[in-house]
């Protein structure tokens, strides 16, 4: 299934049954901030309707890798990609110069580290992505917004206060609002950049629960500092170090039987 040349690190090996289809795949991906190479020749598949976690010590490039998928790096000068990120089944290279980064962001959603709702109403926050896509019918908006809020497990808390300003919500609710905002546009892939690092344990648990349910609808790639979180929510885990992909595999395998000494040291807390 993995069509890239096998990376030096261990690739995912199924314990049983065939691998799920690949949704997107990094091929020989390198990334440069100016002259600094932040990502070194990454090869990794992201499986459809699965949660893939990126772990590794600070500065290992996991957020940089995540932000390649929606071309966030294009917003800042002197950034350069090499290699490809293929999005399947269309098999387009998301990083190609001919592909508009706005089109990429229309297809791939993102949830940020700090809850960052717009200083607008709850309704308008969820509506924004839809409005950008040209949707203006009130009935359609209402409908999609309800669906998105339900999918983000926020509907019951928010349905009576849709016209309230979003910052009146609690931190965890704000983050679920940001998830609803991303879900409303029906993304093919949803990126989470340390989505719970600014939240308390209870809000964190609700977001994790949400992610586990969301993979029925959308493929998820999540960066996390928290190894327990990776173990709890993800089906596949990638361990990165100094811009390189050290090991990638099923989460159980990575946490129970890592193939590389470095991975084991990091996971057991001897390093990082």
């Amino acid at each position: 299934m993995v069509s890239t040349p096998a990376p030096e690190v261990a690739s995912a090996e199924p314990k049983g049954g065939p691998l799920p289809p690949i949704k997107t795949e990094a091929r020989d991906l390198s990334f440069y901030y100016g002259s600094f190479q932040a990502l070194k020749n990454l090869n990794m598949p992201i499986y459809q309707h699965r949660v893939t976690a990126l772990i590794g010590p600070s500065g290992c490039g996991k957020s940089t890798f995540l932000r390649c998928f929606n071309r966030m790096h294009d917003l800042y000068p002197n950034n350069r990609y090499e290699g490809e990120i293929r999005l399947l089944p269309d098999d387009v290279n998301l990083l190609a110069k001919s592909v508009d980064p706005i089109e990429v962001r229309m297809r791939i959603g993102m949830v940020f580290q700090k809850p960052n709702p717009f200083p607008k109403t709850i309704y308008e926050n969820v509506a924004y992505g839809l409005r950008v896509r040209g949707l203006s019918s009130k009935a359609m908006l209402d409908d999609k917004i309800e669906q998105a809020l339900r999918a983000a497990a926020l509907w019951d808390e928010a349905k009576d206060r849709l016209q309230d300003l979003a910052f009146n919500l609690s931190g965890g609710q704000q983050q679920r609002l940001c998830i609803a905002r991303a879900l409303a546009t029906d993304p093919e892939l949803l990126l989470f950049d340390e989505p719970t690092s600014a939240l308390d344990p209870i809000a964190t648990a609700s977001i994790e629960e949400l992610m586990a349910g969301l993979k029925e609808k959308v493929t998820i790639l999540v960066v996390t500092h928290n190894m327990q979180q990776a173990a709890r929510v993800s089906d596949y885990t990638a361990y990165m170090y100094l811009g390189e992909l050290m090991e990638f595999g099923e989460t159980d395998q990575i946490f129970i039987k890592p193939k590389r000494k470095e991975t084991e040291d990091y996971i057991t807390g001897r390093f990082g």
Partner: protein, 320 residues
């Protein structure tokens, strides 16, 4: 380090001697703090008192002359019959032109510099120039306007020329304030909009401008408040000091209901009217000048109050 070591030994030595030193240090620090607070209060008082004294002086002289008649009369040879009708209407019309010309230009330039222009040595030079423009003496703008608007473009000694001149004057203030306000919008707000597929303009119009509206409006109004008191550039382009008629009304009863003749009318403004009265030997005219000064000050303070209110209203709704 220290605490772990003391925990390791069974009986920690008493810290009493260090404590005394520490308390002396804190007391000395607090004395300095009180001294600085007193100094600050003194400076604030001086600034406030000066302002109050100036305002009271004007008020005492001018208050007896303030009446509806004073606002609705044209200037006159007789001090008691003279009013500021043509002056305040002139000021209002000039401000209107200044606002319509200066504000879009300033905001547009700021958005371009902040959001579109690639950072390079050219933008650095532009940035330094814009900042320096704010410090150019206003009479220099007057000279520029005399050559450019009055003669080159043939606008004459008109409301339009004056409005455009003051627009140039407030341009750097508006640009600097707008850029500051745009910069105050956190990067994660921009990224949130972009991540949803917004184009640059959608991000700017849907997020940046609304969120920074408070700061922008403040800059605009502070600029306008400065412009309304400007005298030198308006004299330079040739405003009259004695006007006993009003420019044509901008709104007419016959179609097309809008009239732009007022743009090319001759005019005077409040500070010039004041200057004219102050320079007369007759004491009665000096009182008129004081009364006009009160009106001018009230207009300026009202504008500043507006700025504060708008900023408060916008900030109340925004939290990052």
């Amino acid at each position: 380090m220290d605490s772990t070591m003391s925990r390791a030994s069974t009986a920690a030595p008493s810290r009493a001697p260090q404590l005394q030193d520490m308390r002396a240090l804190i007391a000395a620090g607090k004395r300095r703090q009180v001294m600085f607070a007193a100094l600050g209060l003194f400076c604030t008082t001086i600034a406030l008192l000066t302002l109050m004294a100036a305002f009271l002086d004007l008020l005492i002289d001018g208050l007896p002359r303030l009446s509806i008649d004073f606002l609705t009369n044209f200037p006159s040879r007789r001090a008691t019959e003279a009013g500021i009708l043509s002056a305040w209407v002139g000021s209002a019309l000039v401000m209107l032109v200044t606002m319509f010309a200066g504000v879009p230009l300033g905001i547009g330039a700021a958005v371009y510099l902040e959001e579109y222009a690639k950072k390079s040595w050219i933008t650095d030079i532009i940035e330094i120039n814009v900042t320096n423009l704010a410090g150019v003496p206003s009479i220099v703008y007057g000279l520029l306007a005399l050559g450019l608007f009055v003669y080159q473009f043939g606008f004459g000694q008109s409301v339009l020329s004056a409005g455009l001149t003051l627009a140039l004057l407030i341009l750097p203030i508006v640009i600097v304030a707008t850029r500051e306000a745009l910069r105050a919008v956190p990067g994660h707000m921009r990224e949130a909009a972009y991540a949803l597929g917004a184009t640059r303009w959608q991000m700017i119009s849907g997020h940046l401008l609304p969120y920074s509206a408070g700061g922008i409006m403040t800059g605009v109004i502070i600029g306008m408040a400065r412009a309304i008191g400007e005298t030198a550039p308006i004299i330079t382009i040739g405003a009259l000091t004695f006007i006993a008629f009003l420019p044509g009304s901008p709104i007419t009863s016959a179609p097309p209901f809008i009239n732009f003749d007022w743009l090319f009318a001759e005019f005077t403004v409040l500070p010039i009217q004041m200057f004219n009265w102050v320079s007369r030997p007759d004491k009665a005219f000096q009182l008129n000048a004081a009364a006009a000064g009160v009106i001018l000050l009230v207009m300026t303070l009202a504008m500043n109050a507006c700025a504060i209110y708008i900023r408060y209203q916008v900030r109340k709704k925004i939290k990052w």
